[in-house]
Symmetry: D2
Subunit: 353 residues, 4 copies
């Protein structure tokens, strides 16, 4: 069976190249074009490398970057994976949907749109159907967004907890990697032997996105989850992997071991459908005293194609009526390109491509 | 007037040398001896340096380390500043108090003792009187403890908020510097491009200590403050300065600007008494979007002698019924040696030395 | 054909675990026992992990550490790979050779012994025969040493240059990774935002070892190479990978491109024999302006089993009568465990096991 | 006596702000204006801070940036300190000299000009007279350049050695701090847990500059010193302070202790003239096994105003006919703004202002 042709937008950036990494040898998708801004036109991908821990195939490195052009992209590809900066992404993704493309975007521009699913297949696979209400859907075009990297990390375990015990309150402080700021991103003078308690718009994104993702769809509308959710976001000198300190309260009573159990055993639609980039275990709960750690756990996930797609949880403990735990997620894989690839795999399995 | 003779215990360690730094040229205290374990006997202080950002005077560098010996210490000094490891500190500090010394300790061993004040003069100066109930007090000996470094950072701003609006709930995630683990402390292989979500006993210490510090004394007993307080502690690759992400709820309604005002204007006993190591402003609230940062704010504090003694607060904001803010405190000055020196200055002002 | 049974000594350390990593699924060798000091007796390997970038197999993680015991090791294994600290290694390796073991050691203890080959198969495969002169050889026991990690990195390219143009003078300044100091090794307080221009005995090792490795064997004796060789060794905050800045002079005239060519085309005994851990290209010369870099090049090497075994060279340039270039080598693979595994593969191919 | 009015060009950058730091309270100079590109016009200096380890005075922080304008600068100031980027510096500095300004520049643009002294007062104070040959001198305008940061570090000790024993050959490998690249400068993703063996044009600058600085003036021309000098330049994750590994050969025979002595006792024109920013000891030779280190030695220098102006040397040792040593110099003070301020102080003492 022929593979679905896909485009990668923003292919000279960190997220764009994570898309390329995940699409190398993909069983369902095939890269038909790499796109970026005008000034990269014609460059070899290999001359623009941002990803440092993946060895790309020679053929991939020799692919040439093309200039972003809606007509050209729509002609060459059924699917567009967007790693564009948000300011650029807004208009261009709309145009691509109008031109009949299925757009799977890492950008923030459309996440809160009325009919755009903010999709994490382990959390809200059912939201995907909302694309049918998008005006461009009749001609095959639609937009699906993945969540912010720091939202994604915490959403999967919170979903498991919410399903089992009802989530009332969660307070999150993040320890976010520098790769989340793209390249060149954070100047070394700002972050060496330092942490920076501010990432523009990040807390607002987390707070609005969690409510939508854990929320429901009723009468064709997204209804926010009522959880009281508070985020504080901090950049730390780590290359990849967002750690998050989570304090939460549930509506039903439980013990720490009960939370461990429901998270550890949590399986969802991507696992049922055996999607190519779905981790066998969406959540891995570690029992060591000092885990998860970015240096040790950021690439957790099996099979090979799902490396970096598991969320790793540790130190689940209870104090009074609150639970505390730490969550780690790969910000440019699970919380970036990997999220959108998984979204596209779900759409493909659901015959939307 | 003659200066009070003081001993520094653990003078070859990080905290011990912060004591020495603060005692150089002190208006009230004079170093009468430096003490450490047997294997350092006779060494020049200058050959055991751990503090990297202070230039010691030549005379200080030439001081010789003596072996820890209760009788010798008690003979030479009225006051003992203890930067000993907790296992060693327990017994030795008791013996020193029995020998008539006023012990000001950075160690955890006696912090929860029935009559030992866990003293942060800006928070609970009144607790100091409890030393009079210690059995050794009749002969002049007593123990005063300073709080854990991560406790201290958050205690001062929480005190200001509690005084004004009543503190009901606080949830803290820390970003703790490597100097907090002493020397050699954290192996570089463990922390380079990494964060470690575990510091042994640290969360328990914070949770019990905050209740005692913000608490009251009734009928000769310490009564815990009823705040619901939750801590999650993480080591980050920063040299000095603990940043803490704080989420809190007050019993009285208020706006973010009200909290800013009470913290910024907060003054307490050490400021009234103009103690030598007291910062003019115990809390400095910054208005920039991205502060406080360890690299920029760790040494905040005036006058010169109080550098690193101010707590820096930033990003005070309200969401729903909760407040969020970031707090930064120098862990080996304000949260270590500086805390105990300030405690001794208070005791001196209160004629207890 | 049955695999050769091997022991790993020092299995709880960084180098010991690199041995284990390389021996997992090895085509010729099979781990018969893991050994370390008394206090690790009975521990699961998985509970002592030092290597952070390799995912060990579950069976490997469950292996138990045994106490170092010459008789027990010699009974269980034909080969002993030694990742022991040098002070311990000296006596124990001698005893193992006396007990009939073929010892392949990463320790410095025997490197300069009269009949112990200081073996880098790409440089001096012929030296291996010297083991026959060891007194224990008649009973099957002998010792082969690999070189210091910083020596190994520069030795392979220097060999290629020496063969072609004659090496007269080389001056090397190193940029050495913290993993070279083992675990816990370098305290983070010493190396964060710092470099340390001193590594005990390292310069002396490099200077003596290069002469032996590039030297010859005449009348049963090692004869030093006459190159004038100067080393300056510095620790830098990098996890893995020693970079070295090399300035050299050859006896025959040449251009930079000639050096590039001889290094790039350099193949030696391990490549001819297709040893399992031999990289297809011992030296990879990169043409980019800013390579090699530890973050990008430390794991260079094909096939999969030889990852981290290629030496990467870049910025080969000529000024006056001198050449300048940078060299990068994985210090715990090529310059540590990988070197000894390759040595053992050579010995096996030469029917010495 | 009225202070000389000075302008700081590039006042929003790292070097520009080091100029401001050194000019605060300067006994001879007074800031008359801060200048930068058009887009900074009107900004408070305090809102553009790049220097992290100096606490500026409130009055300084409140100074406003003006747009670069030759006429305006020349009218307001006798002296212009230039921290401009080299591309901009070339033309602008020429125009300022034509307008009668004495320009002291940190930029590379004019360093190799026929009559521009490449001045390090400890090395070649006599070169300053060459400004009289500049065509603009008759109207009071002239240009004096300071050397590249990595050149400066090594030039002072090499001068001491050359004077005493004759310098024939020197080979230098650098460990250069990120502040040398300005702000934003080096992306954190490029340098965290990494070193980068390439800094554009740096090696060429060092090689040409050393020859000019150590050279002489004969018949109104700069004559290069004949030393064979080779540089290899590497960026390392250190905030401030360039370490350099130096291997050298002298024409006269000497022992390591002789080099130590001549460097330690080295005094030159700035010390004789007691210039305000001149360190009492231009070269501090340390005897410890592991010094100099950026973290410990970067701010060496007395008096207070000369902090960071001493060059620290360590590990002076001899092997065969070569000497090896390490050299550390503050790249944005001694090797940047401090160098030019010292140059201006010399010019002032020589009645050229």
């Amino acid at each position: 069976m022929a593979k679905v042709k896909v485009a990668v937008l923003g292919a000279t950036g960190m997220i764009g190249q994570r898309f390329v990494q995940l699409l190398e040898g993909h069983p369902k998708f095939e890269i038909a074009g790499l796109y970026a801004s005008e000034r990269s036109e014609g460059k070899r991908l290999g001359d623009t490398l941002k990803v440092r821990d993946h060895v790309f195939m020679d053929d991939t490195l020799d692919m040439r970057i093309e200039q972003l052009d809606v007509a050209r992209i729509a002609k060459a590809s059924r699917v567009a994976f967007s790693g564009l900066p948000s300011d650029l992404a807004g208009g261009l993704e709309t145009q691509l949907a109008q031109a009949g493309c299925a757009v799977f975007s890492n950008a923030a521009a459309h996440r809160m749109d009325a009919y755009v699913p903010l999709l994490i297949p382990e959390c809200n696979a059912g939201h995907l159907d909302m694309v049918k209400k998008q005006s461009t859907f009749k001609d095959g075009g639609f937009i699906v967004a993945n969540a912010n990297c720091s939202t994604t990390g915490v959403a999967v375990p919170l979903k498991a907890v919410d399903d089992a015990f009802g989530l009332e309150f969660a307070c999150v402080s993040t320890y976010q990697a520098i790769s989340g700021a793209g390249y060149p991103g954070v100047p070394s003078l700002d972050i060496m032997s330092n942490v920076v308690p501010y990432i523009r718009s990040e807390e607002e994104k987390m707070e609005t996105e969690i409510a939508k993702i854990l929320g429901s769809v009723r009468r064709g509308k997204f209804i926010d989850h009522p959880v009281e959710f508070l985020a504080s976001c901090v950049r730390v000198p780590v290359i990849d992997g967002h750690l998050e300190s989570v304090t939460l309260r549930t509506s039903e009573d439980a013990e720490a071991k009960d939370l461990v159990k429901v998270m550890d055993e949590f399986r969802a639609e991507p696992q049922k459908l055996k999607l190519a980039t779905a981790p066998l275990r969406p959540i891995i709960v570690r029992s060591e005293a000092d885990r998860p750690q970015p240096a040790l756990d950021v690439n957790a996930g099996e099979p090979e194609r799902a490396k970096g797609m598991s969320t790793v949880v540790g130190r689940v403990r209870k104090k009074g009526t609150y639970f505390k735990m730490f969550v780690l997620s790969h910000n440019t894989l699970r919380g970036g390109a990997g999220g959108s690839v998984l979204n596209a795999e779900l759409a493909n399995a659901k015959k939307l491509l």
